[in-house]
């Protein structure tokens, strides 16, 4: 309580001081509606960055004091934890059209790491697929089978695919809990790109066993495996600045922390009893299933009287960053909608704890801050236009004997801008000092390289912030209007292509050009003020492309820049991931469906997972499709048609038997040749050409 009161006081005082200062900077000192709007928006945004600033400083102090004495890990020493028996725990990885090899490589490394602890017997693993495309889910199931064979994990590693994927990821987890939740005391939830050390999994279970009032325990995952410059910048920020921010957050939230949806352990029984997510009953955005479930589940767990803890001192918890800006923005689009839905819960859900309401508000602000900033810039432009283009208002609406002389103080404005920059960037320097105290400078290439890396990261942040602001503004508008504003195509390649970047960023670039041009025409001094925002927007396309380049990330890495400790001395679970043997490479150009039909073992495996046979009209449709598939192959089939076949054991068996009898010049004959590595052609005479 003391910590939170202190934080609130500091933020309030700082915000009030900043807002008064702005009022003095403005020409009419808040004497008209535009300026009042500016001050209001400034206060909200200033408070927002002020919270981040103080959380970072709190974290630094806590870390320098040797950690938080209230944290769960401080309560129970290593010896006590080591003696604690474990309980049955499920490790679940929900996936939805993810790159199969990457996801299951992470799961394999986690499995092996856990096996090395000698505690594997207490854990079962579940791959929970929501994938709809049969080419994807057949490949997932095939990879699961190979993984079971390789690890000898049959009966411990399971694969479950929902045929109806209602309520997104939370529905997938709920489906698991309904089916098997009672078999386990805990569930550790992973993301498709999660990687967790076995020791960490074991410690999490032991902590939960020691603390029966804890409903959810969240680790603080660090970003790993960054290859593009964008991902490496995120990775660097996560590993250098992350510790002070998460330590500060954990120290302030204590047992009322948030749940981030993955790399966390949940206590099944109260979770099933109290954390069911009803559809929202409002209008538009505030109706239907909840897209972002994690914060809400933490709030419901808190409401039920259980604690939710963030424990940053638990290492061995990792995730990956999107490789490029466009991928990150695509993800943010979903998150923006989900987080804005929390407004409804925050306002209308009964009996939530205040800390969790604030956490929900925090999530809302993560995206709402963007349109607020946009609004602030728009109002700044309006205020400047009024000053330069309209006649001066010497008398305000209130009666006064004296004229009001507008006075613009750009030097004061510079001071205010400098203060804002200080709030944004000073915690990063504090994080570097923390590294020096922790003797971790060498992990980042030494003091000089670390300083250069921080400057690179700051430059990237400054270039990205306006781009993110504009994109998030659009997402918030889309969400609130419950519509999709068409912008441009998505980048589906690994690296960002120039064409996609220009298409995606052109509206922002044009807007920035128009804005900067207008500012220049109006007043060159105002033009210079627009540059920190306008310039990154004008350069958005090249920024997006260059940050998405792998060679640039590697070039900097080879020069010891943006280095992180995990790259110099990877922990065992990461080494495990990097030396992963990969999955058996299928024959060239074969699809998962072809393999499911042709490969005798895979065919048998897929049949054992499929429905035994459909009935009635569907059975007739399956028979018709089977025949068509034998004659022409599945290339013209829709996703649904292919799913029908791939999920019917009788159809799969029939296809398998007939495909092996196919003529070499038929579709299946040619598919077969891919497996044999030989291509046969039928000669007109009836002979076969090789």
């Amino acid at each position: 309580m003391v910590r939170r009161t202190l934080l609130t006081s500091l933020v309030l005082v700082q915000t009030l001081a900043g807002s008064f200062f702005l009022a003095w900077v403005l020409p009419y000192h808040g004497g008209n509606l535009v300026e009042q709007g500016l001050i209001l928006l400034f206060a909200l945004l200033f408070a927002w960055i002020s919270v981040g600033f103080w959380v970072g400083l709190f974290g630094f102090v806590i870390r320098r004091m040797g950690g938080d004495r209230h944290s769960l890990l401080h309560r129970h020493g290593p010896e006590t934890l080591a003696r604690q028996p474990l309980a049955r725990t499920a490790v679940v990885m929900p996936i939805y059209h993810e790159p199969v090899e990457r996801s299951l490589n992470g799961l394999r490394a986690t499995y092996r790491s856990l096996r090395d602890t000698g505690q594997l017997e207490h854990f079962d693993f579940f791959i929970l697929s929501d994938s709809r495309d049969p080419k994807v889910w057949l490949a997932e199931r095939e990879a699961w089978y190979h993984l079971c064979e390789e690890l000898g994990a049959g009966g411990r590693l399971f694969y479950r695919r929902r045929r109806l994927n209602q309520h997104y990821k939370s529905g997938n987890i709920a489906d698991f809990l309904r089916r098997w939740g009672r078999d386990y005391r805990y569930t550790i939830v992973l993301d498709a790109d999660s990687l967790m050390a076995g020791d960490t999994l074991v410690s999490m279970v032991r902590l939960m066993e020691r603390e029966p009032r804890v409903g959810i325990l969240q680790t603080s995952p660090t970003i790993i495996n960054g290859r593009t410059l964008f991902a490496r910048v995120q990775q660097f920020a996560s590993q250098v600045y992350g510790p002070i921010f998460t330590s500060g957050l954990a120290a302030l939230q204590l047992g009322e922390a948030a749940y981030w949806g993955h790399n966390a352990i949940i206590r099944n029984s109260p979770f099933m009893r109290h954390c069911g997510l009803r559809k929202l009953s409002g209008f538009g955005l505030f109706s239907g299933p909840i897209s972002s479930h994690d914060f809400v589940e933490a709030a419901f767990m808190g409401r039920a009287g259980y604690e939710v803890w963030l424990e940053p001192a638990l290492g061995g918890s990792h995730e990956e960053s999107p490789p490029a800006l466009m991928e990150e923005l695509n993800r943010d689009k979903r998150w923006a909608k989900g987080n804005l839905q929390h407004l409804w819960l925050l306002l209308f859900s009964p009996r939530l704890r205040m800390a969790h309401r604030i956490a929900l508000f925090n999530g809302v602000m993560s995206y709402l801050a963007a349109p607020l900033w946009f609004g602030f810039l728009a109002l700044t432009t309006v205020a400047a236009a009024r000053l330069f283009l309209l006649p001066i208002e010497y008398f305000s609406a209130e009666p006064s004997l004296f004229p009001q002389w507008p006075k613009w103080n750009p030097e004061w404005a510079l001071g205010l801008a400098a203060t804002t920059l200080f709030l944004l960037f000073f915690p990063k320097l504090v994080a570097a000092v923390d590294l020096a105290f922790s003797r971790r400078l060498a992990q980042h290439g030494g003091a000089l390289r670390l300083t250069t890396s921080i400057l690179i990261e700051m430059l990237a942040s400054a270039l990205l912030a306006p781009i993110r602001m504009l994109a998030h503004t659009r997402y918030v508008l889309e969400a609130l209007l419950n519509t999709t504003l068409r912008w441009a195509g998505q980048n589906r390649s690994h690296e960002t292509r120039w064409r996609d970047a220009f298409l995606n960023q052109s509206p922002g670039t044009l807007l920035a050009l128009a804005w900067a041009g207008f500012a220049w025409w109006m007043d060159p001094v105002f033009f210079y003020w627009t540059l920190p925002v306008a310039l990154p927007l004008i350069l958005a396309a090249p920024t997006s492309v260059l940050l998405g380049r792998i060679w640039l990330g590697q070039w900097l890495r080879n020069r010891g820049l943006l280095l992180v400790g995990q790259e110099l001395r990877p922990e065992p679970v990461l080494r495990e991931l990097h030396r992963a043997p990969g999955f058996p490479q299928p024959a060239d150009e074969t699809t998962a469906f072809s393999r499911a039909v042709i490969d005798p073992v895979l065919n048998r495996m897929h049949r054992s997972c499929a429905r035994q046979s459909h009935r009635g009209a569907k059975a007739r449709q399956v028979r018709r499709l089977t025949q068509l598939c034998l004659e022409q192959g599945p290339d013209s089939f829709s996703r649904r048609q292919l799913s029908l076949l791939a999920d019917d054991a009788t159809a799969l068996q029939h296809l398998h038997e007939q495909a092996w009898c196919a003529r070499p010049d038929s579709y299946w004959g040619r598919e077969m040749a891919k497996f044999q590595g030989i291509d046969y052609l039928i000669e007109p005479t009836g002979g076969v050409a090789q």
Partner: protein, 84 residues
Amino acid sequence: MIATPGEVALTRVLAYLRLGRMPITREVMIEALTLVQEELREEERLQPLIERLMVRLQARFALPNPALPPVCPPLHRGSIQYED
């Protein structure tokens, strides 16, 4: 180069055995050749030849048939409850 029906048939038989996780030893190759030889005596046309071979293949060779891992554990249903 023109492949004869016998070559196609033998390749198909060996591919099936290999994909069926059977080690292709000398004995297995001889057995496959014998099978193709027997069937070639009965049927020279490619299509019927392959069909006959695929039927006889299963009985002739003991494919490993590795045990399949259980895809899911037995169900133990519970429910998710809603508080508001």
